[in-house]
């Protein structure tokens, strides 16, 4: 779908469907989501709450909360299917080949163990190294993510660290086994702006250094703008638009992306009113037929209500799920 690239993608997600069976019928939370991540690439995933961003990440690492389940499609890591692996095999991939950074650093670290214990255990679970070698690596990692006096602070407990420092520890933990892909789910949402910039920089640098790809899940377009190479915009569990960051931000083709961009107040421009998308994202049990965005769209026409638009190429590497794209007007 990304086409034209000689390089084989690191991660391929094709027509991924995630469903939640409930007493009142099955809810489809992800509906035919497709995208690739190239080696070394940072793919941003944006969308509003309930769009399915975090669920996509959870599906990839096999951590869907039951009763949620993958009901269709496939996920491939370097060409090998990982969506149907037995739990034991998936456990070996998780942490080793795919690292994770979650939103709240306080819940992703175990408060009862020192940082050293957690890092060393992670390293030794995935790599065949001695205790002292693992410790040396752990100190190196902490140093790399910018923890001052790493050799001393490694024996501290998570509560000794501030929010920003804890998130650095989590990044060190995610990268401990040198994964090929890091899934970062809202890594800076719990942090202040001044610390946010530091964390994004660390994450970006260290992944680039190790050649790890990043899937960056966030609701913050600003973070995506300065971090990601490409961005996928999710709406109601579907990919609305996917393309290079600059194209998507400056020439959004999907009316939802355009509305979203206009809705964000920025420091650079002066406007009296923000662009306003009427209504709210539909609930999962009431997704409209045709295009999920059609009741809120200013450009809606008959076809949008009847037929669901598929992702189509609008520009090189830039795909949009909107019937307007086909008409050639963007």
């Amino acid at each position: 779908m990304t086409g034209g690239k000689m390089q084989e993608p690191l991660l391929t997600v094709r027509d991924l469907i995630v469903e939640f069976p409930t007493r009142r019928g099955t809810l489809r939370a992800l509906d035919q989501v497709s995208f690739d991540i190239a080696p070394g690439e940072v793919l941003g995933m944006v969308g509003e709450s309930g769009a399915g961003k975090s669920l996509t990440g959870a599906a990839i690492i096999g951590l869907l909360e039951p009763p949620g389940r993958i009901a269709g499609g496939e996920i491939r890591l370097r060409g090998e299917r990982i969506d149907n692996l037995p739990p034991e095999a998936m456990r070996r991939i998780r942490g080793r080949r795919i690292g994770m950074v979650f939103q709240d650093p306080l819940t992703s670290l175990n408060p009862l163990y020192t940082v050293a214990q957690q890092l060393i255990q992670t390293i030794r679970t995935h790599m065949d190294v001695s205790e002292s070698e693992a410790r040396k690596r752990a100190v190196g990692l902490l140093d790399r993510v910018g923890i001052p006096a790493a050799a001393r602070r490694i024996d501290d407990y998570p509560h000794h660290f501030s929010g920003g420092m804890r998130q650095r520890v989590v990044i060190a933990l995610a990268l401990a086994a040198e994964p090929e892909l890091v899934i970062a789910d809202e890594p800076t949402t719990a942090l202040d702006v001044s610390v946010q910039a530091q964390i994004i920089d660390v994450l970006k640098e260290i992944c680039a250094e190790r050649g790890a790809s990043v899937m960056l899940i966030t609701h913050d377009m600003g973070v995506i703008a300065e971090t990601a190479d490409r961005v996928a915009v999710l709406y109601a569990g579907r990919v609305a638009e996917i393309g290079p960051v600059r194209d998507v931000i400056q020439h959004a083709r999907h009316p939802y992306t355009a509305g979203l961009m206009g809705a964000i107040p920025t420091l650079e421009q002066d406007s009296d009113r923000l662009v306003q998308i009427p209504g709210a994202m539909p609930r999962l049990n009431a997704i409209p037929t045709g295009c999920a965005f059609n009741p809120r769209c200013a450009h809606v026409f008959d076809r949008c209500r009847a037929e669901r638009p598929i992702l189509q190429r609008a520009a090189p590497n830039h795909h949009v799920a909107c019937w307007l794209t086909e008409e050639g007007s963007a």
Binding site: E48, A197, V223
Partner: protein, 330 residues
Amino acid sequence: MTPLVQVDGLTRRFDISKPWLNRVLERESRQFLTANADVSFEIKKGETFALVGESGSGKSTIAKMIVGLLAPSEGRIHFDGQEMDFASGANMRALRRRFQMIFQDPFASLNPRWRVRDIVAEPIVTFGLLQGADVAREVDRLLEVVGLSAADAAKFPHEFSGGQRQRIAIARALSSKPEFIVCDEPTSALDVSVQAQILNLMRDLQDEFGLTYLLISHDLSVVRHMANRIGVLYLGRLVEVADAKRLFLEPQHPYTRMLLDAVPDLALSGRRRKPVLGEIPNPIDPPSGCAFHPRCPLAQDICKADTPQPSVTPTGQAACHFAGKIGEVA
């Protein structure tokens, strides 16, 4: 003209000492956390004054003191020329009708067991503004003013989305016909497209009813979009107050400048975001002198020794020994 709200030397300390027995046994003295120190500003009628700062900077404590939910340790607040007397119930009650508050989390600020009708009518009933059928008519009118329908009055809060709930909270705030509304992070729990709806609504209401706002937010873009004047807080102290547009063009305090540099560049103008040094220190044990000196690129010996007092700058006021000179040094 007297300002609508005038705050002089507002200070609030919280006693965070250990229990009495522990203090005796461990020979420890009482400990205080200074949430706000010597904060002075004024808000003119009809303007939007914003307070920005990172977590722990004392934004919400100021809001609570201004609406009378928390008594200041020191300092005075005048509302429309009248001093707020926290000891006098009658005085506070008379003033309270004239100001209202909108809180951050519309899931927590609305009683889930009450119907929308009762939530919105509460201030009308409490202050005895209307009787009988007039109350219901007024509730219907208010709901339409904030973009809901009269039929919503019979529903419960859980039937609404986050954005709609915030509209209910705004309708409730408007029901006592206040002159002044304190908005504490009114949109930080909302998605950007919904945030735009609420910010636009707040502006429309301001124009329609001549409201004065105190807007509290950590989001500089939101603040710039909404405010006429901005106060920047750092560790409980007001470090800079300036006209909104000029604050962003000519920051006078190094902390303001650092905050601005940390905002992600959504316009992709090529402005490089400068990661900020360090983190907010622990407010229990703030640094000596200027609280910002350990993170400040311009810090000199005087900054460690003396707390800078606010001085007049071309754009407003700033509490920095080098106010107005940061352009020359950096």
